[in-house]
Subunit: 190 residues, 4 copies
Amino acid sequence: MRTKDDEKQEALFEATVKVVNRMGFASSSVSKIAKEAGVSPATLYTYHKNKEDLLISTYLNIKRKLTDIAFEGIDDSNPLWDNFRRIWFNLFRFTVKHTDYFQFSEQFANSPIYDQVNQKEIDRMFRPMGRLIQYGIQQKIIKDMDVDMISAFVFYPVIILSNPRLCKNFSVTDEQVEQSFKMAWDAIKL
Amino acid sequence: MRTKDDEKQEALFEATVKVVNRMGFASSSVSKIAKEAGVSPATLYTYHKNKEDLLISTYLNIKRKLTDIAFEGIDDSNPLWDNFRRIWFNLFRFTVKHTDYFQFSEQFANSPIYDQVNQKEIDRMFRPMGRLIQYGIQQKIIKDMDVDMISAFVFYPVIILSNPRLCKNFSVTDEQVEQSFKMAWDAIKL
Amino acid sequence: MRTKDDEKQEALFEATVKVVNRMGFASSSVSKIAKEAGVSPATLYTYHKNKEDLLISTYLNIKRKLTDIAFEGIDDSNPLWDNFRRIWFNLFRFTVKHTDYFQFSEQFANSPIYDQVNQKEIDRMFRPMGRLIQYGIQQKIIKDMDVDMISAFVFYPVIILSNPRLCKNFSVTDEQVEQSFKMAWDAIKL
Amino acid sequence: MRTKDDEKQEALFEATVKVVNRMGFASSSVSKIAKEAGVSPATLYTYHKNKEDLLISTYLNIKRKLTDIAFEGIDDSNPLWDNFRRIWFNLFRFTVKHTDYFQFSEQFANSPIYDQVNQKEIDRMFRPMGRLIQYGIQQKIIKDMDVDMISAFVFYPVIILSNPRLCKNFSVTDEQVEQSFKMAWDAIKL
DNA sequence: GATGAATGAGTGTTCATTCAT
DNA sequence: CATGAATGAACACTCATTCAT
């Protein structure tokens, strides 16, 4: 008996991202993705129940990679601002490096399939962020607001800025990035 | 492809938004849209060259409605903050009222078809905003940054917050909206 | 606008019967049926909602043709035996002439799709037979039994005998047919 | 294709019957049957050359079980009627007890694969019945007719009556069964 | 101008079967 | 001997678009 191949699994994830970005959500077909991954369409179905499952898994895979990196180097004994800044730059670096992941994610998150994603799993991944925010609010360092607003004003802009399709003028110079961070911090600081 | 009947034209736009939001970009078909609009698929083709054209037109239609409303009541003799605040609230009210338009727009803008949109036309629609920003920068009221960054930190958050799929917790109370505006202003003010 | 074509509809029925008999229920595909009927598989779907609908319609079509012929020449003023004999011979002639219809029907009726056939419609078609039976029972000419038993002992044998796959030896000579009728009658007469 | 494990072999037969009855011939797949039998699809192929072979074997298996039981208790020294009645009731009891076997058999026998069944083997199984008939004809107890007619008027009705899909009204009470037997006997007796 | 019928090309998915382990 | 992974070929069905009316 042959055994399932982790490389194939990963190839499928990468192929999904690539094809969705190249052709768009609407024109991405299972067979195109399979071809891109170098497997037969039928094989794809031994790794994923159906197309939806493939898309959702790919999305979660990205989120996991993102959160794995986002909270690297965070130390609760550091000042809030330091931790916050570190997370923000971690994210920024990741989104810039993997613009393809986020073009995929945006297309995915705006489609109705997104409703089927297990939100609890997402929430769990971002828990460290939640704790940080709450601590900042308690300490009266940042404004008292809910997590959605933080996302909207701090992290979504990162995604937008690093999307070359949407922000054709924005260039990732140190200066621009520092200014962006300042804007994010100004938005939430008390 | 002659536009004979404006009512049918508008019905097609509305149907497109409705179907895309209900089924997602991937599952939206010309015949479903035609049926939703109450016309034959063949008729649709007398109004639009093809499916792409229909989607792009629908997107531009939304952007036009948006910008028509955004700059209502703006008077260059008012203080910058007043004008800025008015635009922001105009937009907020519009996005909340027409969440369907923006779910469509987001799906559209993240797909490769978006590249075929005539950016100059979009830029022209948002020109008044550009002028306002430039004036604010000149007067040292707001930070010196390009338009992309304004969009990212001021207007995108509006779209995100008013998207019920993404922000399940955000509630549109006066207080929350005021706070959101404050965050937007804090982000850009010098 | 083109109009739906009754000839195509009929061609689809005939093709369905032919293909199912040639390949068997299990190997009959929509595309084979469409090709046999000389239309595109896509066209088939303007005439039938799906494969199931095509099969059920074909079955009902056969039953309708059968019952249209079965009760030809029946006159309530004739003796029961005469009417009964006429119906039996009508059926026999029809089944022998259209063995393909009944090979299809048997495959169909033994598959689970059969459960979805509207039994009331079938019952309605065979109502004249029901009345005849009831009259015969009342007049103490035939045994008192339910319709299922009549079917099983009188009409099913007709189908079996005229199925060349099952009855390789039975030859349709006048003598054999007369003897078969006698057996059917002996089975039910009091 | 070696028969190692008789239990697995029998499990495959039962699984085949079960799956074919549940899903119909058209939707029965090798892997579903394998799963139902609790083995891998690959294993199935060590017991049967291919799908066809599995189906044919299953059919023959049923026929063998049927004929093993049908002629139980037959004694050539008993009167013909006694033997005939005993066989008929043996069959009736078996078909009622194993309706699933006969739903399978009917689907099978009406499909073109049936043509590949070795008829000689079937004939051999039913030889005792043939001898009985011939004796009855010689003795002028039953009508002079070929075996197909006997099958059609005596044994097929049994299958039909005990098929709950086809005979929804027929109830297996002693009285109904006796009457059915009488009909069968009346059909063939001189 | 408006329509529903028509279709080649494509969709997502399952199939019977083989193969490496 | 037994297995689940692998696959080319086929499946039922829908697509965007055209065409005859």
